[in-house]
């Protein structure tokens, strides 16, 4: 009863949700939501370059977002500009450069809406492979550095003093963030990826009492959001990215209501 493209989108979307779950928790804990935004805005530039030089979109996005991320890390140490100003500066200038470049590439047919908000029709078998293979690598590395990045998230000084090498894990984590944007840009779109990182994790927060619970719940909430979002996208003929984010938002609101009802969840 479902078309092949829908099944492909479902498989890819679930793969993405499994990766955005734990990374989204870290983004929330570390207050990096705007950082994620900046990376995903810069991803549009990556997409444009991928078309211009006909290379793989995910690879190109990973390179551009990763570069922007590292640029940010080094600029944050060097300039006196406040962190959020710096993020805004890079977010909008890379987005603008991407859009200007699209203008130059008039010979290629572009689906701008698809780039910004995601397109389930565009998910190919190759994309599924990229999502799952890339996702497994990201999760594997994240699992490996988890102890260190978690300690650094709780307190940088403690982690540094007690040999957890927080700078190294911060650096790797930043690249993983660029990686998750790279594998999900086609599905979710440049403007909305941060939503899939943040909203399921925020939903999970009010339902969990320890970090592991929150990670597992945010994966589950992400998967449910993807499934609900894709079905409604199919039924209502809406863009896949916004539909998934709206589904996630509905779950978030439901979690707030249940949170209020049960009072504090603290044991």
């Amino acid at each position: 009863m479902f078309d092949d493209f829908f099944i492909r989108a479902l498989i890819a979307g679930i793969g993405i949700a499994i990766v955005t779950g734990p990374l989204g928790c870290l983004v929330i804990w570390r207050r990096l939501s705007y950082f994620g935004d900046t990376l995903s805005h810069s991803a549009l530039l990556g997409v444009t370059l991928a078309y211009a030089f006909s290379i793989n979109i995910s690879l190109s996005v990973f390179i551009i977002s990763g570069t922007v991320a590292l640029l940010l890390l080094s600029l944050q140490k060097r300039t006196k500009l406040a962190g959020d100003s710096l993020l805004g500066l890079l977010a909008h200038s890379t987005l603008a450069i991407g859009l200007v470049l699209i203008g130059f590439l008039s010979s290629i047919r572009f689906d701008l809406m698809g780039l910004l908000f995601g397109d389930i029709l565009a998910v190919t078998v190759e994309d599924i492979f990229i999502v799952w293979f890339g996702g497994l690598i990201i999760l594997g590395i994240l699992f490996y550095i988890w102890k260190s990045i978690f300690a650094a998230t709780v307190n940088y000084d403690l982690a540094a003093a007690e040999g957890m090498k927080p700078d190294l894990s911060n650096f790797i984590f930043t690249l993983l963030l660029a990686g998750v944007i790279a594998i999900s840009i086609k599905m979710i779109g440049a403007l909305l990826i941060t939503g899939l990182l943040l909203i399921p994790a925020a939903t999970a927060r009010s339902l969990s009492s320890n970090p592991r619970q929150m990670v597992i719940l945010s994966i589950l909430v992400g998967i449910i959001s993807v499934i609900l979002g894709l079905f409604s996208s199919l039924e209502l003929n809406t863009a896949s990215g916004p539909s998934i984010i709206v589904a996630a938002l509905v779950l978030f609101i439901l979690s707030l209501i249940s949170f209020k009802r049960s009072g504090a969840l603290q044991k």
Partner: protein, 246 residues
Amino acid sequence: MDQNKLLVKLENAGVYRSSKWLVRGISLEINQGQIVTLIGPNGSGKTTTAKMILNILNTDEGLVKGNANKMAYVPQKINIDWTMPLRVIDFMKITSSLNNTQITESLVMTGVDKLLYNQIHSLSGGEFQRVLIARAIAKKPDLLVLDEPVQGVDFNGEIALYNLIKEISVNLNCGILLISHDMHFVMSTTDHVICLNGHICCSGSPSNVVKNPEYIKLFGEHNSETLSYYQHQHDHSHNHDGSISK
């Protein structure tokens, strides 16, 4: 004490940030089983010095020679974001893999074992401070750095915790660097006091340091109640000058 292993040594170390020296010319060493205390006014570089020892800050001058296998740290201030659900038991394990017995043992020592499954955010200031100390000692470190470890703890608890710190240095035979305002404890249990004000003003055994003119100058020029307390300590010693390291 001399045959004990040297855990960390600073040689003329300094940290330069935002076009000024936070601390400069710091030389000190901490040995196994020794309690070294840093005292000094606000902004005198006590925490900065501790962070050099812990390799959190890189020195811009001088050397840090670390010899300790396992360091544990009780920072002066920790803010854990509400967005992270974290129980005491989770917090205890953030930098090392401890089993529940080890965790409970050290929580019993600081008197907060009942809070094992409580959320970190629900603890009072004093309770959290006890958890911080328990976490540090559960690791069985050979160098323990405590930055104002009893802030917010009630008076009786304070005495018990200071006794515990003394006990730990004996039982674990670890070196302890303590930043403290409590002169009673400093005077009664510390082996070596370093009086800091951007540089080392004076150092030595507690009884010598209080007689040092640098010490008197530093703590005598203010008039707050705390400092008259320092002065009071000073009033009790009637000998001649101690040695000056600088």
